[in-house]
């Protein structure tokens, strides 16, 4: 996918900027883009390590069993033939998403991918369960959309939290569509 999109974005951007006489901006972008990747990584390293550590404690206590009881029905519906380790990581990933701990959700999701890879027959191809995990993570599952609320508060909204209910509706709709179409893709791919 990225082998097509990545060069496409670059070629289109450079050609368009030359045609529209906007090359200075492109030069600026070339230098600043690596800087912003480094800034993000440096910010990420700290919080990712912290949350991976905290979540490692959680996965070794009974917390994981409690969460498992809550979520196992949903997990069974969405994933198929999943091993215990992968299931635990997926549960922690979902919980981190719901709590809005984006920096904890990603490492847990990637550890879940590694667990799923063990049962994957073709190692360079996404398995059905991996597709489901990715779709779950591209939906924004968090209960309280903290970033938007803080922006709205900063801009002096009368009621910054007014958007929470619509956000839930919108998230649920997009999640259901995402899961159903992914299931359809998996089915078509098998036949």
């Amino acid at each position: 996918m990225l082998n097509i999109l990545w060069p496409l974005f670059i070629i289109l951007s450079i050609l368009f900027s030359i045609i529209s006489g906007n090359v200075e901006n492109i030069n600026k972008a070339i230098t600043t883009s690596t800087e912003s990747a480094i800034t993000l990584t440096l910010t990420l390293i700290g919080s990712t390590c912290l949350w991976s550590g905290i979540m490692e404690i959680a996965s070794n206590t009974k917390i994981i069993d409690i969460l498992n009881n809550f979520l196992k029905k949903i997990i069974k519906k969405v994933f198929s033939n999943i091993n215990k380790n992968a299931q635990n990581k997926i549960i922690m990933n979902i919980i981190a998403n719901i709590l809005g701990l984006g920096n904890a959700a990603t490492p847990l999701g990637l550890q879940a991918m590694e667990e799923l890879q063990k049962d994957n027959i073709k190692k360079d191809k996404l398995s059905d369960n991996m597709m489901m995990l990715i779709v779950l993570n591209t939906a924004s599952l968090q209960i309280i959309p903290t970033t938007v609320i803080s922006i709205r508060t900063a801009l002096n909204s009368e009621e910054p939290t007014k958007i929470i209910f619509p956000v839930w509706i919108s998230t649920i709709c997009s999640l259901i569509v995402g899961i159903m179409i992914t299931k359809l893709f998996i089915k078509v791919d098998k036949n």
């Binding site: 996918m1 990225l2 999109l5 670059i10 951007s13 450079i14 368009f16 900027s17 906007n22 901006n25 492109i26 972008a29 070339i30 883009s33 912003s36 990747a37 390590c49 912290l50 991976s52 550590g53 905290i54 979540m55 404690i57 070794n60 206590t61 917390i63 990603t106 490492p107 990637l110 550890q111 073709k122 190692k123 191809k125 996404l126 991996m130 597709m131 990715i134 993570n137 591209t138 939906a139 924004s140 309280i144 959309p145 903290t146 970033t147 938007v148 609320i149 709205r152 801009l155 009368e158 009621e159 958007i163 619509p166 509706i169 919108s170 998230t171 709709c173 997009s174 999640l175 995402g178």
Partner: protein
């Protein structure tokens, strides 16, 4: 006001409370919590380093895209079609950028909310879109590249369709609830 305070309080309390519960469970079950923490933190470090090249590559191409002016051009190009189906044109740049770039869409959303008024219908729609969608391309790229996946089985299609659903539902629901 009480409702706002309550929600703010819950969102402030969520993280410390989660940490407190996790550590307490670890202590109660007599686990070596610090050793576990170090194990996890080490995995976190490895993962960050693994995804670093992906981040550089992604930020580079998205940075070019954002600065080339091509997004504005596409917006102008498809505006007539979208105004025909009564899609609010102020939202379009956000809808185009949301799946591709987290930082750019956050900047654009803030701009839209500021220019149209934070409690205006457009401001509310932009807020709901930001709260209910993710940076899809980033997520897919990071998840696939950490395992060196070549065949992504067109996962981007269901993911983008889910984003489009989220955007359309955001517009509809705001028009129903807030109009």
């Amino acid at each position: 006001m009480i409702k706002i305070k309550l929600i703010n309080y819950i969102s402030v309390l969520a993280v410390p409370l989660a940490i407190l519960i996790i550590i307490s469970f670890g202590m109660k079950e007599k686990k070596n919590v610090f050793d576990l923490f170090l194990n996890g933190a080490k995995k976190g470090l490895e993962i960050t380093i693994t995804i670093f090249p992906t981040l550089i590559g992604l930020f580079f191409s998205i940075g070019l895209l954002n600065n080339s002016g091509i997004i504005d051009y596409i917006t102008k190009l498809i505006e007539p079609i979208l105004s025909f189906v009564r899609f609010p044109k102020e939202i379009l740049p956000l809808a185009l950028l949301r799946p591709i770039s987290g930082s750019a869409s956050l900047a654009i959303a803030t701009d839209i909310i500021k220019n149209n008024g934070v409690d205006s219908i457009i401001g509310l729609i932009a807020s709901v879109i930001m709260g209910s969608t993710e940076t899809t391309l980033y997520t897919i790229t990071v998840y696939c590249s950490c395992l060196k996946i070549k065949n992504t089985r067109k996962i981007i299609i269901p993911a983008i369709l889910a984003d489009i659903t989220g955007i359309i539902v955001s517009i509809l629901i705001c028009n129903i609830i807030f109009a």
